[in-house]
Each structure stands twice: as structure tokens, then as C-alpha cells.
Amino acid sequence: MSEQDRTAVGFRAGLEDDAQWLNDLKRRRNPGPRSVHHRAVDPSLGAATVAVHGGTYEDPVTGAVGTPVFQTSTFLLDDLSYSAFERGATRDVPIYTRYGNPSQWSVQEKAAALEGAESALVTSSGMSAIASTIYALTNNGSHIVTAYDVYGGTYNLMREDMPSAGREVTFVDSTDLAAVEAAIRPETQLLFFESLTNPLLKAPQLRAIADIAKRHDALLVVDNTFLSPVNLRPLDLGADVVVHSATKYLNGHSDVTAGVVAGSRKFVDRVWAQALRFGGTTEPLACYLLERGLKTLALRMRAHNDNAERLAAFLDGHEKVLAVHHPSLDHYPHQHLREDVLGGYGGMVAFEVAGGDDAALKFCSALRIPYLATSLGGVESLVSLPFNTSHCSLTTAQRASIGIRPGLVRYSAGVERAEDLVADVARALETI
């Protein structure tokens, strides 16, 4: 067991300064924050190994194998705390849980390792992660480019909050590279896209968009919620920052609301400072649940991936199904995704049943296994209809204009046995 030290690795380097001028300052940005007790895994290990071991707090007192729950709002002050205050390094010493807590550091280290990032931040929800990131990385007077079919919560933030915050937003088709580039202005600071869209599973060309962003000195932020780092690592494709609703696959058990931001320490520190002011802190107990959920991420994603592919294959060509949207299918229009993904496409399948929304409602009520509920990424399958949930504020014509036609079903495959899910769907389709 290691000698006790609650500060982040690298923090003490800044305390040795005997600076005559700025060039004498020694502190560098370090990955993390993580203490010597937080396990740093070899990044070349597989996602399954990283998910289990990354960030685990190896308690020097008890030798506990699992990360303890540091269920406290505040920590004892000492000279290191005072040094952190004086030097503006309060992310590196546990002082107050809104600033940081070893439970948060464990989750952050694991998430960062999975995304191939230097640093990560865990927040109280996915929207907390997204809002903090967007505010932190843009200024008054800036311009943002995003997708017109971005997640509803993000869309509302972009449309309802950005104008009064001095940010202008242009909404584009994220799969149209020419439209993305044409939307760029001199003041464009941020491009925000999802690695896979909701609910139609469209895949923007992230490598090309990253190139566009770099050419224009803008940052690319990718919401990787629908794929998870097991299936896709946006930073490897050129993104600057990745965000997640950790409520979904990362936690995976539909019992935690949380978000994650991952990227360079430089950027994540800025998002941390913003989230600190917004108050989007994650409770230690939620961190414990999230870290436990993350340990099985790779296992769960394999099941999600397989189940969704099996469902998509069954549905494609079924006489009562008009269309199926899933990247595994030959007619899927965004074939570049196959070169980018690492394991699969996640658990979401969208499909249109014959007979429109009434038939879709009848289909859903006939299903016996999935719950009729919003969200995704839990071990249990969930099903919902965009027309009366996520896209209910749009008219039928507006929905059709973005590809959401009557009868569209959003099916989030859980980790149940694939044969059971397929049989259940087959039986429900017979009722319409």
C-alpha cells in the first residue's frame, strides 16, 4: 500500500517554487486529478480491463479492493489546503465536495482512461456536463454550430439560453459536411455534434468535422452518449472534448443521473471551473454507483450491441415494418461509421411500423419485456415513441421534415437474452 497523500499527483511540484519571475514556475498540467491512491491503468489495455481497474481508490489504511464511498461534503483543512487556495489549485486537493472528492476522482479517472483523455469531470447530469462545457469553451460574442436534430435538452439550451448569453447558434444537418463548413463564421468557437443521433442513428463524419474545426481555430465537442467509449472514442478521431449523459450506458442501471466531460486537462479544468460555479456537483454516493456501473461497461456494451443488431436484422424486411434505422444494416447511409467504431453501435434501434402512430402505440402496449419509458442505456430494454415524448412539440410535418415519420419506435435494447427480445417484438408486431 502506498504512503498516504490525499493531493493530486503533481500538486506538490508547484509548492517548491522559489520564483524570480514567471519562467521559474514549475507546476505543469498533469493528468487527473488523481492521487497516488487512484489506480492509473496502462492505456494500451483493453476497455474491459480499463473499465474494471481504472481509477480504483486503493485505500492505504484498510486495503479495501473497492473504492470507499467518501460520503462527506467537506474535508479537514491543512497547509496543503491553504496552499491550494493561495495558488488557485483547488481542483488538486480535497477541500469541499463541490470542488472535488476522491469518489469523484475515481469515476473521473476511469472515464478519462476509457475515452483516452488526460482528464475527466463527473457532473450531476448530462445536461450539466453539456451546459458547463458550452459555457466554459465559448465567450460572449461567439458562434456555435450544432445539429438541428441534436438531443432535445441540448437543443433547448442552444435555442433558449445561448442568445441571451451572447452566443449565436446555427443548426445544420450534421451529416452534410458542406453545410457544416458553410456555417462557420470568424467568431465560431465551437462545433457540437453527437456521435450517433437520436432517434434515427445518423452518424456525422467526425474525422472530417474535426479537420473543419481545426482549420477554423474552433473546438469540436462530441456527445458520445449513444455509443460509449467502448464503441467509439471521439478524441481519437480529432475531437477536443467528449461529453456523456452518464445516466445512460456509462452507469447502465437506470439508477443514477450523472454526466461526464473528458478531454485535455487544459479544457477540462475550464469546464470544471464552470461546473463549480453552476453547482453541477455529483454526490459521492452517486459516484460510487457510477463507478460500479462503469466496471461492467464493456460487458454490457457487448450485449447491447449484439441485441440491437439482432433486433435490427429481424425487423429489417418484416412485413409490418416500413423502415429500420441501424448502422449494422447494409442500407445504412453512413457507412464511414464502420471504420470508426471499435465494437458495435450500441443498443438503440429505431423503426417505423406500418399503420402510423396508432399502430406504434398498440405495438408498445403489446410488448412484454421492455418498459415503456424514456432514456436508454440501462440493462433493461426501454421503448418509447418520439411523437409523444421527445419530439411531441413538433407538428407532424415538422417531424417528417427531420425524418421522424408516423409509426416510428425507439427501442433501446438492454442486456436481456436476444432471442427473448426478438420473440417479444415478433409477438407484438402480430398485434398490429
Binding site: 508547484g14 517554487d17 520564483a19 524570480q20 519571475w21 514567471l22 519562467n23 521559474d24 514556475l25 514549475k26 507546476r27 505543469r28 498540467r29 487556495f85 493561495e86 495558488r87 488557485g88 489549485a89 488538486d92 465559448t138 465567450n139 460572449n140 460574442g141 461567439s142 458562434h143 451572447g166 470568424p186 467568431e187 465560431t188 468557437q189 477554423h216 481555430d217 474552433a218 473546438l219 487544459k266 475550464r270
Partner: protein, 354 residues
């Protein structure tokens, strides 16, 4: 936080630019536009701070010096020279605070009166007044002994970018579209003395935030805010000292070019001038001794008025450049005198520059 600065962030930045020089290169941009009947307006444009863009949206209505009401006893608009002096003063104090913070000094206050002796306006009444010499009267209160404060404050003479730009020779370039316009700076007459003194008070608030107010009767006394981008320790409260330099330069040239056209033809069109400059933070931070300290690579590009021929526009703009007080202030070396007071005690009378 010391003096509102995160020493840790400063340290991380120093080591970042030590590893990657491109992160040290900060490009600042501004545009000014003179419109007949509507006056002079200048605004900042996005800055490129290393590899990060910072949208910078600040705009100022400025005194053009010839179209504004000359008898206004309480002018509400600053002149380009006001902006330039505030930029020089704040940059110097900020350098002292940044360096002092690294050395562990906690400042209670630091302020300055920056004064410039200027010649009377030119006889042919181009609205510009050439600066002949500058002085800083700096007053500090801190927890450090007077010797250390004196040492840190004297360091601004070497390390403050805007101060060095004023004190040293600096290259300036001017373009009309893609064409570079040749020009020759007017030499400072030997022994020339100023006709009047322009004075500004510069006061540190916290971190990178400052205010600067005019002290002269008849000048604009409204405070100018100065800050940094939030990507560089600031809070986006106002333009930074380098942005004030390009704002001032673009504004003066737009106004002067319009005035020259008006003098020659009886009417002026709409003139826009885009100015930019480069700050290499490796100089200020002594990360690379070969890096320039001063705000450098300053350039302006003019958009001529609609309907005005290129040759004629070039002529007016070149005249504006050659008669501009700010071009001269930035391009040629100027003597700067520094006087320091620490608490109640006068401790230093240091002559700096030439």
C-alpha cells in the same frame, strides 16, 4: 489565488509554451470605421490565443478629433490616444502584478498616472498630436519590502509588452487589399518638446481587471475598462491592453484617412481599417530569450470608400499613416520615465528608455 491571479494556471501556461511555442502566440484583431456624419467606431474581433479562438465582442464610439463638436466641455468619447495610453499603463501594471504574484507578493493596491507630452496639433490640422515623452508615476501598497517592490516594478521596463513597443523600434506594416503600402515614419525632431500633457489614471482592481480614467480638463474622464479573455486569466470584462493598441491604431488611421480625403475633396467617404498585432508570451515570461517581448508584427489593412479610386485612396491612407501620432508612437522609440512610490515613501526615480 494571489492578487486575483491563479499562480498555478500561470505556471501551467509557462510550461505549456515552453513545450509548444505555438501556444505562446496570441493574435489580436480590431476594426475601426469612420462614417461621415456618424463618427468613429472601433470594435474588437476574435483573438487567436495559441490554438484557441476567443470571441471578443467589445465596441467603442470614439472621438474622431475633427468632426466631433470641438467645444464640448465634457466629452463622452475617448480619443485613440486615450486608448493607447491606457493600454501602455495597464500593460505595465499587469506585468508588475503577474511577476509579483509569481514571487509571492500580495498587493493591496497598485496604480499609475501615465502622462504623455504631446506636440500641438499639426498646422494643417490633421487631428493627431504627436507624443514626445512618456512618464509613469506608480504607487504601490503591498506586503513586500520596498526593495523587492522596486525590483519587480523595474522589471516592467524590460518585460511589459506595450511598454517595450513604445520604448523600442517596432515594425509596422500597412496594406490596401493585398498590396503593401510603403511608408516612412516621420523622425522625432531632436530636442522637440511637448506643447501639452495628457494624463490618465490607471488603477488595478483584481486579477487582470483595471480601470483607466482621464485626468485632464476638457478630455473624456469616463473610465475605460481593461481585462483579459477568460481563456487567459480574465473574465471577459473588457478589451485587453494589446486590443486597445489595435483599436486605437485602427481608429486613428480611419479618422485621419477620412480627414485627408475631406481636406482634398471637400467630403469624406466611409473608411474601415483592420488592425492586428502579435504578442509572443515567451518574451514577457522569459521562456525564450530570443522571443520578442514587445507587441509586434503590427499591421493595418484599409478598405477604401466606395467610389474612390485605388491610387487616390492609397495616397490618403499613406498620408494618414505618415502623419499618425500612434503610428509614430508605436514604430519609433520613445523615452519613458518611471517614478515609483511605495506606501508614503518616494523610493525610486529611475529613468528608463533612451
Amino acid at each position: 489565488m494571489r492578487n486575483g491571479f491563479s499562480v498555478s494556471s500561470s505556471s501551467e501556461f509557462v510550461n505549456e509554451i515552453r513545450d509548444d511555442a505555438r501556444e505562446a502566440l496570441f493574435h489580436y484583431h480590431a476594426t475601426a470605421c469612420f462614417r461621415p456624419g456618424r463618427g468613429l467606431r472601433a470594435w474588437t474581433r476574435p483573438a487567436i490565443l495559441g490554438r484557441i479562438k476567443s470571441a471578443r465582442r467589445f465596441a467603442l464610439d470614439l472621438a474622431d478629433g475633427w468632426q466631433d463638436h470641438p467645444a464640448d466641455p465634457q466629452p463622452q468619447e475617448h480619443t485613440p490616444l486615450d486608448l493607447a495610453l491606457a493600454a501602455v499603463g495597464v500593460c505595465s501594471l499587469k506585468t508588475a502584478i503577474a511577476g509579483g504574484s509569481a514571487r509571492g507578493i500580495t498587493f493591496d493596491s497598485i496604480e499609475m498616472v501615465v502622462s504623455a507630452e504631446v506636440q500641438p496639433q499639426e498646422e494643417d490640422f490633421l487631428p493627431t498630436a504627436r507624443v514626445r515623452r512618456i512618464a509613469y508615476d506608480i504607487t504601490t501598497r503591498s506586503d513586500a519590502d520596498a526593495g523587492l517592490i522596486e525590483e519587480v516594478t523595474r522589471q516592467i521596463l524590460d518585460r511589459s509588452p506595450n511598454h517595450r513597443t513604445v520604448k523600442d523600434t517596432t515594425e509596422l506594416h500597412f496594406h490596401a487589399g493585398e498590396r503593401e503600402l510603403g511608408w516612412s515614419p516621420a523622425a522625432i525632431p531632436a530636442g522637440a518638446s511637448g506643447g501639452r500633457t495628457v494624463r490618465r489614471h490607471v488603477k488595478w482592481i483584481s486579477g487582470t481587471q483595471f480601470e483607466s480614467a482621464g485626468l485632464d480638463a476638457g478630455g473624456c474622464r469616463l473610465p475605460l475598462r481593461v481585462d483579459e479573455a477568460k481563456q487567459f486569466a480574465g473574465v471577459d470584462w473588457a478589451p485587453n491592453p494589446q486590443e486597445y493598441v489595435v483599436l486605437a491604431l485602427a481608429a486613428e488611421l480611419a479618422s485621419l484617412a477620412a480627414r485627408e480625403q475631406e481636406a482634398a475633396t471637400g467630403s469624406a467617404g466611409t473608411w474601415s481599417v483592420h488592425a492586428h498585432g502579435l504578442l509572443d508570451l515567451r518574451g514577457l515570461m522569459l521562456v525564450d530569450p530570443a522571443a520578442a517581448v514587445g507587441f509586434q508584427t503590427i499591421g493595418c489593412t484599409v478598405d477604401r470608400p466606395a467610389g474612390l479610386g485605388a491610387d487616390e485612396a492609397d495616397r490618403y491612407f499613406r498620408t494618414a499613416v505618415e502623419r499618425s501620432a500612434l503610428v509614430e508612437l508605436l514604430a519609433l522609440p520613445h523615452p519613458v520615465e518611471v517614478r515609483l512610490s511605495s506606501d508614503e515613501r518616494e523610493t525610486l526615480r529611475a529613468a528608463a528608455g533612451r
